[in-house]
Amino acid sequence: MTRISLTVNGESHEAEVEPRQLLVYFLREELGLKGTNVGCDTSSCGACTVLVDGESVKSCNQLAVQADGCEVTTIEGLAQGDELHPVQQAFHEQHALQCGYCTPGFVMASVSLLAENPDPSEAEIRGALEGNLCRCTGYHNIVEAVRAAARAGA
């Protein structure tokens, strides 16, 4: 076991983890943050996307020990109380989610995209979200939601 300390959604945590434990299972099973979903085992689908030090990361593709000393933000850390983050609000208003399973990953990837590029074109949005898969929406409304969030100054 290895000792790590990290900040998750603004709270500090210290934990003993198995060196082979993936960050996503650390978040889900050790911290009980079950909003981050697992959709594949080949780092293809992006359902597990979180922010590590502000950058979007597939948390199934990083070990918990690699997050030692980092600041992690998960979907649970995005809203301010009752107020949704502008990207969450845009996903709601544009009907950019159906079954909701890919949604946390898409929202986190979109937050990361807009931090880097506040006014992306459709092609830039589609390119930036290439690492996230959705079977329900056909992506149309997800792209609309990211544009709407950009307009809202997310």
């Binding site: 198995e18 082979r20 434990q21 299972y25 943050l33 079950k34 909003g35 981050t36 979903n37 697992v38 959709g39 594949c40 085992d41 080949t42 293809s44 689908c45 359902a47 998960t74 979907i75 649970e76 995005l78 809203a79 949704l84 969450q88 996903f91 709601h92 208003e93 009907h95 989610l97 159906q98 079954c99 909701g100 399973y101 890919c102 949604t103 946390p104 929202v107 459709e122 949005i125 589609r126 390119g127 979200l129 290439e130 690492g131 996230n132 898969l133 959705c134 079977r135 329900c136 929406t137 056909g138 992506y139 149309h140 409304n141 997800i142 792209v143």
Partner: protein, 755 residues
Amino acid sequence: MSILGNRVLRTEDGRFLRGAGQYVENLPLDGALTATFVRSPFAHARIGEIDVSAAEALPNVQVLTGADVDLGLFGPPPFPGLDAAMGRPVMATDTVRFVGEIVAVVLSEGRAAGADAAELVAVDYDPLPAIVGPAESAKEEVLLFPGSGTNVAARGGAPELDPTLFDGCDVVVSGTVTSQRMAACPLEPRSAAAEVGPDGRITAWLSTQTPHQDRLVLAGTLGLDPAQIRVIGPDVGGGFGAKMVSVEEILVVWLARRTGRPVRWTETRSESMVGLNHGRAQELTFTIGSDRDGKVAAFRLEIRADVGAYPGLGAFLPNLTGLMSSGVYAFPAIEASSVAYLTNTTPIAAFRGAGRPEATQAVERAMDTLAAELELDPAELRRRNFIPKDAFPYTTASHAPYDSGDYEGALDLALRAAGYDDLRAEQARRREQGGPKQLGIGISTYVEITNGVDETEFGEVEITADGGAVLRTGSFSHGQGHETTFAMVAAEQLGLPLERITVVKGDTDAVAAGTGTYGSKSLQIGGSAARLASAEVVDRAKKLTADYLEAAESDIVLDPALGAFHPAGSPAQALTWEELASRAAADGQLAELRAVHEFKGAPTFPFGAHVAVVEVDVETAQVELLRLVAVDDAGTLINPLVAEGQVHGGVATGVSQALYETFVYDEDGTPLTGTFLGYAFPSAADLPSWEVVEMVTPTPRNPLGAKGIGESGTIGSTPAVQGAVIDALAPYGVRHVEMPVNGENVFRALQEAKA
């Protein structure tokens, strides 16, 4: 003003957006054992000794094999003609018949320990020759079930070809379309958990589309009374036809009973790619005959369906394909026949469209092939053969009882939105210039069937003491937005605001009956049941109001804007739902404000027209889909926002069959696309935005006027895209390209045309 027809934002969104979705894997279930399945890496093999000693040497690990399982076969569904002897063992005992079949299960404390132990289970396999594809199966050199004496799981339709079918035709053309095998790929892999209560009653949480039906299957397989089982479908991350109870869920429940501890299982994606039923996998040979003007006289469809290793729904679906073989056309004579073949591959069942995409792909390719032969514009050939709008109700020569439609109207809308004439002019310009990037335009006009087997759905509406309402529906949502749409249906009838209505679904203890959601039938039967139960509650409320106000029942009206009842012309006497419910509760009469309706629905026939525009680089064989215009008419729309979402997702899947996805086995039956790395699931970067055009032709077959919308986009889009790519390559002598029409298949078609 009615809430129906408004773009109401979904009320269920909040929990998903906040990461609080209640998926099965998120259930706490303290003290649960984790089940990890050991699956066959061979497509066809005899099982020899299974050595579990190394696995069980790990702490707290137990391994069970097929010899330990005291359950009967997970038989084929009760469709006529299926051989019960081809039933599937819940766990393989002597023979495995596809890669992914379960041979053992590990019980452990947690996921990682289970994965470690599963790797240590040593299974002796004696490989047998494997059958891949209908052609190999038909040779019957190897039989999957030697005792049955055949690899044919089912036959359907015309037993013999009519040699005179095309007599008198001026032109007869034929061809073959392969509707390739696809993986359903719901983003949430399957997950199941089960717990036996102190009273011996079982609770099973399943990632499923069909909680009530699953309870019956579980009870039947486990030899239990259904009343001993409670099935809960919590939030489910997509299903697409594939998520209904299968052997894994049966084993999880069986293990919970056997061990006396809660048991849970969540499949990995790579496990899901071979363990979850696949879809499509039909080869369809069409022959079409017409006069010189393109008026079709006869159509023949011969279907060779690959049903995988065990016959299930996939052995029945070719019948649906045959039923829908006429498409939107008034063909005077149709001969459809099918043979369902066993192969050493993952079983075939429903996947978004389920039997109807195959029919549309065949008839639309036939029409394009005939148009090319006659040198007619494909839109014009379709116009000459449409069932006219004044012909409904109309029964096709393939015996499908169409309800309502305007097929030419849909095509007109789609062509206008696409700018068809301008597109043809641009295509001519590019052909003239002769550059590498050629334009292709594809048209698909389609009709499909929803609620195809006249199912019944349950609805119950109950007014609560505080004047709100609870709607219990036997329908189920695994992403379709029932909590909003079904509440809208009840709200409109009851005159209550949306937020006063709670939709309850997916719990067999909370909802008395149900069939679940598949085949795009939710709204038309579940929604109709909700509407009629709501209407009955309103009638009951009028009666109660009349009692309280000492007025005549026939005088009482509901003011839907206020949610209040009063005698006509005397609004001052109004009783609101809140007042009525509170008085009824005080009088012990609240139960009067409750009604159940089981709505038996007839099939409805959504239709539409899609136009695809592609750019094909004839040097690199790369295809880019530039535009897809979709007109999908599903009758009356309750929530256009949700309906459009269904179209978007449906179109993406149909386009993806045309351009990207194919589940491939090598000749030994080993999957070559068994992970998300190998399987071409498209991302946002691979697809354009969709151009959706609304069209509404209500059906007379239910009180909502609604048809199904979940699969239309999938059914309509595939042939448009396939046709567009072939259209782009027509000047190069290409007459057909197999799907996916991209890269390798395009390159081969160009090479063959050159040769």
